[in-house]
């Protein structure tokens, strides 16, 4: 195994490039609170793996979405487990991001020169919220429908342009099959794409600027 990898590495030089990333100086006083960002990322990896699996059976259509969820839950092998892991990782993801943000806030790690990474982190957090919101509609049951009805109505309370923002999000006057499809697209294509870019930037900035030395 090592030999095969070394052979490949002699051609691509993967090791050298990543040594810089893995071998970096850390502050002496590093705590478990510094793991919260990593914990969030780990939940995110679980979301990607289980999400890819769910998308094999899920049908994003008005007439079939609910049935396909029932099928995943009761017929597909391990379907229940995969759904459950996707749910729990989503919950933990949000929890860890919030805790990680708190840790960064308390350590004042948002201060120069790390301002930009705070902003990119905020973007990642907003994307995470958007992911949760769009994913919640996908089972297409009563709870999903009304949560989206209420959630999208909130946009309409913005003065003047609110109504149009709501139509934009819903893809029409009401929450319909059109909404389901665009939420699905956002949930599995758009948001993961932008999230990858945001995290890539986030991690590279952490490497460049280093972890803040405290106190």
């Amino acid at each position: 195994m090592g030999k095969i990898f070394d052979w490949i590495d002699r051609r691509f030089n993967l090791k050298v490039v990543h040594k810089r990333f893995l071998k970096r100086s850390l502050p002496e006083k590093i705590t478990y609170f510094h793991c919260l960002g990593g914990a969030a990322f780990t939940s995110y990896l679980c979301l990607i793996v289980t999400g890819l699996l769910l998308s094999i059976y899920y049908v994003p259509s008005e007439l079939e979405a609910y049935d396909s969820i029932v099928k995943i839950q009761h017929e597909v092998r391990f379907g229940k487990v995969i759904r459950s892991v996707h749910n729990w990782s989503a919950t933990l993801f949000i929890v860890f991001i919030i805790l990680h943000t708190l840790r960064v806030f308390i350590h004042k790690a948002y201060a120069p020169p790390r301002q930009l990474n705070w902003l990119v982190g905020t973007l990642a957090m907003l994307l995470a919220f958007a992911s949760g919101f769009t994913g919640y509609l996908l089972p297409w049951d009563q709870k999903a429908f009304w949560a989206t009805e209420v959630g999208t109505s909130m946009a309409s309370t913005i003065p003047a342009i609110g109504k149009y923002i709501m139509y934009f999000i819903r893809g029409g006057l009401d929450v319909t099959g059109v909404t389901l499809i665009r939420f699905y697209s956002m949930h599995v294509l758009w948001i993961p794409f932008f999230m990858m870019m945001a995290l890539w930037v986030h991690f590279h900035m952490v490497r460049r600027l280093g972890i803040k030395r405290n106190l």
Partner: protein
């Protein structure tokens, strides 16, 4: 101006415009195209003698819209000698209210909005009364006007 700088500027402007144009077109692409104003259409729902004398009656019916069956419902209220139709859509964020006979109130399950029997807000976050639906009575039949 130097030829190189000039070319650079042209290329920058070109990519910048392509970026702006594609993003605006994408927003227009995503914005729904079939937003038409809703028109009020009257539906025949029940016979005149089925109207409640006093209190609240829930009426459910199905109509066809763009070749799809749409299920809907509303409330008919008989109070102080007058009859009115009330939409069950909460004015807060659009959940469906339910009439509670015990409390003589319309209660929203989402954030605790409450309306009295005439649809006026008595509690909770709703900013406006329930929408009144026009009722028409002709030849012993009752028609309700719904925006579709």
């Amino acid at each position: 101006m130097d030829r190189r700088i000039f070319l650079k500027k042209i290329i920058k402007t070109f990519f910048f415009s392509v970026g702006i144009i594609t993003s605006s077109l994408s927003v227009l692409f995503i914005y729904p195209s079939n937003i038409s104003r809703r028109k009020t259409v009257f539906f025949d729902i029940l016979a005149e003698d089925e109207l409640p004398r006093k209190g609240v009656k829930r009426v459910d019916f199905t109509y066809k819209h763009k070749e799809k069956d749409v299920q809907t419902g509303f409330y008919i209220v008989a109070d102080k000698g007058s009859i009115l139709g009330l939409s069950p859509v909460c004015s807060h964020l659009g959940c469906l209210v339910k009439y509670n006979n015990h409390e003589k109130a319309f209660i929203c399950p989402c954030h605790g909005g409450k309306y009295d029997i005439r649809g006026q807000v008595t509690d909770g976050p709703p900013p406006k009364p329930l929408t009144e639906l026009p009722l028409k009575i002709a030849d012993g039949r009752v028609y309700v006007g719904i925006k579709v």
